[in-house]
């Protein structure tokens, strides 16, 4: 029974991210490369979707397109990307034109449209959607310390939160803080009990700060209590004015920016925010399981090991509390035992922060352990998408089956590994219709036409004529 998977407008609303019919092409000297063609998927809030496929299949390009980070020679030719009800690709076709120049196609862009789309994305990147890359050594700035890099995220995207934290501390009298600290000794560090306690004292705005300090694994318990006692520091009246304005405005007003530059005043306002950002950075590093935090804050990326760098990247990614994190092969460059640590960390963060994740990987094992739903991409086509248990238990698309057969099973030797004959087709002149038809053992004439998405089970969609009636 064919059931074309069509989504109504309302379905788009309950999804955090909706991608529909995405086509990404690159203009090269040898022609137009259709890197991604007709890819559609949804991510609900808090859900982890895996995109799995081999090199060059377009999974990374898809993710980059969501963030509008496609390189200059690439264009989103067709399709829509909806995020939180906002159309990120509105009128995107107005942005570019393909012109013929000396019997080649050349890309021309309209700068006003570019700016409009870019301005829209700037508000989203880092704050609502953040990204974790594969190679932390090249994605981290080598000449800035870790602390400053994480602080930067906060200072750009979340200044009001920093201001509010300082104000919250200022508004609480010191004796109350001492009381809370005394009461905390011996309660242990379970978040719920701590929150209860703090709330019982009637200072809800302090909750976040106190719980994050208490969960700092790198400090001894005694030190943590001490940090809590020292929470309140002297903040001048003018500074409080400044902070309240920041909190109300949502940013640092230009007046204060000017005042802050004057000789005697010199960054005493903005400096407050920087200091606060550094404290939050320490808390974030603790959340990602970093050891020796006070040292790491001052260190540079090359002084850290691979696993620690990746933790720092993850800290940067969660800093502004995004709704969606795009992780592009975040553990592929790490050793197996370190990878296990990072994957466990990602699982914890997922549970605690309820962030949605778009997880890109070529490793089926990693995907099996981290994702709720997974989509298989071959040569730019999304050939199958299903809930995770379903895909491994009941793969439908011939490519998916071939891929799973080619993986050496860990628990035993097999006489020989499953092969998919042939090789990935060139994406400049892709095969018509289903791009797997050149290698598929079940290919027929019909496969020269692109198969529609067919729902074989609830939540399991395949693009293959084998399942049409």
């Amino acid at each position: 029974m064919i059931q074309e998977a069509e989504l109504s407008a309302s379905a788009k609303d309950e999804n955090l991210l909706s991608v529909r019919g995405l086509r990404i092409s690159f203009v090269t000297r040898s022609g137009i490369v259709q890197a991604v063609d007709d890819v559609s998927f949804d991510i609900k809030p808090g859900e982890t979707l895996g995109l799995v496929g081999e090199t060059g299949c377009g999974k990374t390009q898809t993710a980059l397109a969501v963030m509008r980070l496609t390189s200059e020679t690439g264009i989103v030719e067709k399709g829509e990307i909806w995020f939180k009800g906002m159309n990120l690709t509105q009128n995107i076709s107005k942005e570019f034109r393909l012109v013929h120049r000396r019997n080649r196609l050349v890309l021309k862009r309209d700068s006003t449209e570019m700016r409009r789309l870019e301005n829209q994305m700037v508000k989203i990147r880092g704050k609502h959607i953040s990204m974790v890359f594969q190679e932390p050594m090249i994605s981290l700035n080598p000449v800035r310390s870790i602390g400053r890099q994480i602080s930067e995220v906060l200072l750009i995207h979340d200044i009001p939160r920093l201001a509010e934290r300082i104000i919250a501390r200022h508004d609480v009298p010191q004796e109350k803080i001492d009381e809370i600290a005394a009461a905390l000794v011996g309660t242990g560090t379970s978040d719920d009990r701590v929150r209860e306690l703090v709330r019982s004292y009637g200072f809800p705005r302090l909750e976040e700060q106190i719980t994050s300090i208490l969960s700092r694994q790198d400090l001894s318990y005694a030190k943590r209590i001490q940090h809590i006692k020292e929470l309140k520091e002297g903040v001048g009246r003018s500074s409080i004015l400044f902070l309240r304005q920041v909190s109300a405005l949502g940013k640092v007003s230009s007046t204060f920016r000017v005042i802050d530059r004057l000789p005697l005043v010199r960054r005493s306002f903005y400096g407050l925010l920087e200091k606060e950002a550094m404290s939050v950075s320490a808390e974030l590093l603790s959340m990602v399981g970093m050891s020796n935090i006070s040292a790491v804050l001052k260190q540079y990326p090359h002084e850290l090991s691979g696993g620690m760098r990746q933790r720092a990247m993850i800290a940067m990614a969660i800093a502004a509390n995004p709704e969606l994190i795009i992780a592009d092969e975040p553990t592929s460059a790490l050793d197996v035992t370190i990878q296990a640590q990072i994957l466990q960390l990602l699982g914890e963060l997922k549970r605690n922060l309820n962030t949605a994740v778009l997880f890109i990987s070529h490793d089926m094992g990693v995907v099996a352990e981290t994702c709720d739903k997974v989509g298989v991409i071959y040569a730019g086509n999304l050939v199958e998408i299903a809930q995770i248990e379903d895909l491994f238990a009941d793969p439908r698309h011939p490519y998916t089956k071939g891929l799973l057969n080619a993986i050496p099973p860990f628990d035993r030797k097999v006489p020989s590994l499953g092969l998919i004959p042939g090789s990935v087709p060139s994406l400049t002149n892709p095969p018509p219709g289903c791009r797997f038809n050149t290698r598929c053992p079940f290919a027929t004439e019909k496969c020269q036409q692109a198969p529609p998405p067919i729902q074989v089970k609830p939540g399991h969609v395949v693009r293959c004529w084998l399942y049409a009636e």
């Binding site: 318990y221 990878q339 993986i407 590994l417």
Partner: protein, 454 residues
């Protein structure tokens, strides 16, 4: 010298056997005073391989497997130790019993050690041993066409008759799945899988007996990897080759190897027949490694053993067993240093789990007297009850995975201004024969004196 007869005596000779092989890389720019630091990349490796065998070398980065592979091929000179090539069984047995500096031992080395080969014997060795690298991009000269790349070793070894070189090149490429149209292609015109096939063809040019495969499929996609692995298996059978298969990918190693060596931080920690080691891993590192591997089976929700910490700095490897700081089952004599114990004691005292301890040692001053003694300052002599308190606190926390170093505490005695903590001396793990040609180097197994009885 440790015995390494983990393989049954089937043939009369061993293809290659390393004995106490070590490689230390000197660190430049170390201080003028004090010992020069070096990176102890491989330490005391006992490795062997026979004809028609595939031996797997697994481990994570920095474990030394790549260095060991290079040493076996003499692409690196060792710091100490030797590697004997095509050595008869009985000679090998004799060699092990000899003192290293004896004349007979030196004579045997002169004849069989690859590090003694010069000119003709070295050239022969290069013909018989080859390597395929991990990165199919940088292992091929971007300016050379495929046919020249494969012909290069033949030309270097003056293959005669010259007229046959072309045919042989075409045949080799064909065996590796690359047809005639690939002869003139430059590396950047080939895909990753094709490049690796080219590299394999090059390795086979002079009909070697031993090929080192250094992560041959780690840079390739899963489906391409399957093709290459199947190719390697077929070539092994058709050409009677032996492989040293270096990889961090355990499933692949299990698929390809007859024997496997597990390496950590420059040392071999476990070795044996592949099926035996994989079915009953014994070294805690091997167990953790296997549990860490993500398995493509979402229903398999097994408990993973998560190792804390990082792979150690090889210029200052941990004392005793190099795995002990991360080992979930470390014993007291696995190599805890006074430093490690001292740090752990501080953590215990400031943790707040034993307020009495925090009270007694308020100043938290410690002094490391020597490798096996730590003194904690209390500002006064302890009363008899207090020593008991300290002893029982430490005893209680020994099993706590947060304070493993406490297991090294042997005795606590009183001092005029505090206590003295003495430690159990470390015992370097030796290889234990678990039967079935399965060996493990771990203090959890005899002959560790701490285990009692042995």
């Amino acid at each position: 010298m440790q015995s390494d007869s983990h393989q049954d005596q089937r043939e009369g000779h061993v293809l290659l056997q390393t004995i106490s092989l070590s490689k230390h890389f000197p660190l430049k720019g170390t201080s003028l005073v004090g010992r020069a630091k070096s990176i102890r990349a491989v330490d005391d490796a006992e490795f062997s391989i026979r004809e028609n065998q595939v031996v797997g070398l697994v481990g994570e980065s920095g474990c030394g497997k790549t260095t060991l592979g290079r040493l076996i091929l003499r692409l690196l000179e060792p710091t100490s130790g030797t590697a004997l090539f095509l050595v008869p069984e009985d000679t090998l047995a004799k060699y092990r019993k000899l003192a290293p500096s004896s004349k007979e031992a030196k004579a045997i080395e002169e004849e069989y050690s690859i590090y003694r080969f010069k000119r003709k014997r070295m050239r022969d060795f290069r013909k018989k041993t080859q390597i395929v690298f991990q990165d199919p991009f940088s292992s091929l000269d971007p300016h050379m066409a495929a046919k020249d790349i494969v012909a290069e070793p033949m030309r270097a070894h003056h293959f005669r008759p010259k007229s046959e070189i072309e045919t042989r090149v075409a045949n080799l490429l064909d065996e590796c799945g690359l047809g005639k149209q690939f002869l003139e292609k430059l590396p950047h015109e080939l895909s990753g899988g094709q490049r690796q096939r080219l590299a394999i063809a090059r390795a086979l040019a002079m009909s070697p007996s031993l090929v080192i495969l250094d992560e041959p499929t780690s840079a390739l996609d899963v489906s391409v990897q399957a093709q290459i692995l199947n190719l390697l298996q077929r070539l092994k059978k058709d050409f009677g080759l032996s492989f040293v298969f270096i990889s961090h990918h355990l499933a692949v190693v299990r698929q390809m190897s007859d024997y496997v060596y597990v390496m950590y931080a420059g040392q071999i920690v476990e070795k044996g027949e592949t099926e035996v080691v994989f079915n009953s891993p014994s070294h805690p590192y091997t167990i953790a490694l296997m549990s860490a591997i993500p398995v493509p089976d979402p229903t398999n929700k097994r408990e993973k053993i998560l190792l804390k910490g990082e792979i150690p700095d090889l210029s200052k490897p941990p004392n005793g067993c190099r795995f002990h700081p991360r080992c979930p089952r470390a014993l007291g004599n696995c190599g805890w240093t006074a430093d490690e114990v001292s740090t752990t004691l501080s953590e215990l005292i400031t943790s707040g789990r034993h307020p009495e301890l925090t009270e007694i040692f308020r100043s938290q001053n410690q002094e490391i007297v020597d490798e096996l003694t730590v003194e904690i300052e209390a500002g006064r002599a302890l009363q008899s009850g207090e020593i008991e308190v300290v002893r029982s606190a430490i005893e209680k926390e020994k099993e706590n995975p947060l304070f493993p170093a406490l297991r090294a505490v042997k005795d606590i005695s009183s001092l005029p201004d505090g206590v003295r903590v003495s430690l159990i001396p470390p015992f370097v793990p030796r290889f234990t024969d678990l039967g079935d040609l399965h060996f493990v180097a771990c203090n959890l197994f005899p002959p560790n004196p701490e285990l009692g009885g042995d």
